[in-house]
Symmetry: C2
Subunit: 182 residues, 2 copies
DNA sequence: ACCTGAACACCGTTCAAGT
DNA sequence: ACCTGAACACCGTTCAAGT
């Protein structure tokens, strides 16, 4: 709050005139950061494709600007951009032929997968270029494990931590093809 | 740290003799909290079943004691219990017939799904009994949305936020059947 | 070898007072 | 209607000093 005050050229406590507390401010800013998702989304005639492209865009947007991520774990903000994202996913699921109780489970599963992936990948993605070096260092650690205690991990060591986008998208594809009629 | 010191009847700064910093302590405690997963796991002859039961146990353990969750987002701790969980999943995937590059992607996808679900559900699960009341309050909010702007969300309002275990397990089943040979 | 205690450099937030 | 500034009640961590 002090850093924000300085950035704005204003007393740190002036913010409390406009937001009840830090989390309230974060919810508002967090929803603003989602506007590239709503604006960048391009609907097609294929509901499964729409869900996939929206989720990929949502994940990369959250990773680029993770300010809203921690607040999301406390529940839905029910603010405009978040609601529009919910609407796009639910209406796509409806278009795909899913009725309401199953569509809702599919929605929660898919959004949970997307938010979870963004949450796990955000810290490393921020690190930028040394992300690849970090992965290499981890792999080296796994390579030094005792093959008697951890044989499968030791054998897989060199292949651990592939591109996180690949992991996310392969999971997303499995979820969509498992939960959405096609 | 001050609260911990008081609990131990010791100066708050005494901890720094044994751990380099707060995160170091949390990594160690976090791995200890995973021991019920390793000890409670009961292997069968079905690799897919083993992965599912391990992940369900891991998720509920993390939710019951989420101290290690935030640290996990900064990368693997590579401590004993975490490594054993990795080993169980990778060896199950191997048993199922998956070779190394694909097995690793399946591993990351499945563990990401499990950690992500625990992260999203932990705050509400801690709230305990008013969790259901919270869900009801949220549904009421969604029911009041403008049906012209959010038709699909409005129509699904009453069914949103089903039991989080159901959401997690249906996603897990879809992932396993999509990524693991059977 | 381990712990203490003062201190540093921070936090989010409240509230009376200002303009 | 909005901002200021002092103050409260906290943080994690360091480091010289103690036993």
């Amino acid at each position: 709050m002090r850093a924000l005050g300085e950035k704005l050229g204003v007393d740190p406590t002036a913010v409390y005139r406009h937001f009840t507390d830090r989390d309230d401010l974060f919810r508002e800013v967090g929803d603003r950061t989602l506007s590239p998702v709503v604006e960048g989304f391009e609907p097609t005639t294929d509901p499964s494709k729409d869900i996939a492209s929206l989720c990929i865009l949502l994940r990369s947007t959250l990773i680029a600007n993770p300010i809203g991520l921690q607040i999301t774990a406390q529940g839905p903000t029910r603010r405009p951009n978040e609601l529009l994202i919910t609407e796009i996913i639910l209406s796509s699921l409806k278009r795909s032929g899913l009725k309401v109780p199953k569509a809702v489970i599919a929605y929660h599963t898919i959004i949970e997968h997307t938010l979870g992936s963004a949450w796990l990948d955000a810290p490393l993605a921020r690190a930028g270029d040394n992300r690849l070096e970090t992965y290499t260092a981890w792999r080296d650690d796994y390579r030094e494990l005792d093959p008697k205690v951890y044989p499968a991990t030791r054998a897989a060591a060199g292949d651990l931590y592939p591109a996180s986008e690949l992991v996310f998208e392969s999971g997303l594809a499995a979820l969509i093809s498992g939960l959405v009629p096609h």
